[in-house]
Symmetry: C2
Subunit: 253 residues, 2 copies
């Protein structure tokens, strides 16, 4: 469902947003019947320059906005500025870095809840792809209880490339999957940079990303029933890493 | 918001539900202007006999049901049969019993998610009060992914009395509270029957129940920000008890 607070509409407004505020743009939708004029070409050029996804969609998608002068162009915008992945990578830190990656989490309430938990747990960033995952919008902001403003959020076009880059930069990749080999509490989170990948409720972590993972962990089920909600699964694993970190610090004093 | 799937309406239907299906009734609402006839008296008598809460409410509450012949009487019903608290207490078990208690959790999505997590974690029951807490309805059932059918659910009129009874029966009471003394992972969940109390997002565990608790535990916050969503907090604690149980079993082999 489209909420107009999450969109900027009209050719000039979208050009302006691309020039002034590109770090808040999730993606750009262009109606298929829109005439390919100079402004549309400029929008496409700016989107490419800024690595922002643009999609041509059937004009029916624009019906909810018929009362606004959208001119066949919408930019889906985030309430927060995204952090650049390479800026994040280059930031020095005294401690190991902890990142959470969403891979196909489509429910905005779950995305918001995971951001909230990751913020509380002192994680360093959350990474999400610009396709096949819920984007950061006003519902996510609300469900996160404002945590979107406390945790750096990185939107990327290719999770696969980003995972490769993380590995090149001494991050261990941990995927959570129902068919994981080890229980999530049997690995040591304390002595490494790591990125934890949570997959969509129906689809799980994508095969390609599972293959790239150094660990595939599961949450043990003590009743023969289904699985956890993805935000609850994330909470169990994220806070296990917190437990290990706090208890290992106490023991080493 | 009232969803008619969660209600039975009309004097005869409510009497019938009380006689045949009282273990699925959350509470009964009677419009204040309803004439006090024999059927209403029977409803009140049966509700009292079965320990079911009934409330007299302004007739405006019934406006959403104006198209149904409600006759000023509604029974809010659960999609599952509640388990009797004393039946549960008397059931023998080879293992220690693990119970979760909700104390003022008003959001149905959170209630559903907590039930799902408790079911996956092999908990033995969930207890919730018949007032000042979301009741089990079709939204809870859906959010629990059907887990309401896998975990015994106990509805009680007085949490305070139930906590006393649990203590009399060798349960330790653990309350989760932002001002707790100990981190939730610093207590041992493996060698006792216990009941974990989760409070409402705004209100927390009620003072009276905090006082009765043997442990008040907190979830450490690593960023100066707010707190966890209650279902995520529950997931962290519930799965910490699972971790301890599984790891202590492995070590003792």
């Amino acid at each position: 469902m489209m909420d107009k607070n999450n969109y900027i509409y009209g050719k000039n407004s979208v050009v302006e947003a691309l020039l002034q505020n590109s770090k808040r743009i999730n993606k750009i939708l262009i109606a298929k019947n829109t005439s390919n004029d100079a402004k549309i070409n400029e929008i496409i050029k700016l989107a490419k320059q800024n690595g922002i996804v643009f999609t041509f969609v059937p004009k029916e998608k624009f019906q909810e906005f018929s009362q606004y002068p959208h001119q066949g162009v919408l930019a889906s915008v985030s309430p927060v500025e995204y952090t650049d992945f390479y800026d994040f990578l280059s930031q020095k830190s005294e401690n190991y870095k902890k990142v959470i990656i969403l891979d196909g989490v489509e429910d905005t309430h779950n995305v918001g809840a995971i951001i909230r938990t990751a913020a509380c747990a002192g994680y360093d960033a959350l990474i999400l792809p610009s396709r096949r995952n819920a984007q950061i919008n006003s519902t996510v902001e609300k469900t996160s209880a404002g945590a979107v403003n406390h945790l750096p959020i990185i939107q990327v076009n290719s999770l696969s490339n980003v995972i490769d880059k993380l590995k090149d930069n001494d991050y261990w990749i941990i995927a959570a999957d129902a068919h994981g080999k080890e229980n999530y509490f049997d690995i040591d989170y304390t002595n490494m940079n790591f990125a934890l990948i949570m997959g969509g409720e129906e689809t799980g972590v994508s095969k390609n990303n599972l293959k790239k993972s150094d660990f595939v962990v599961k949450i043990p089920m003590l009743r023969d029933f289904n699985s956890l909600n993805v935000s609850n699964a994330a909470a169990a694993i994220i806070y296990e890493s917190v437990r290990q970190m706090i208890q290992s610090q106490n023991h080493s004093v």
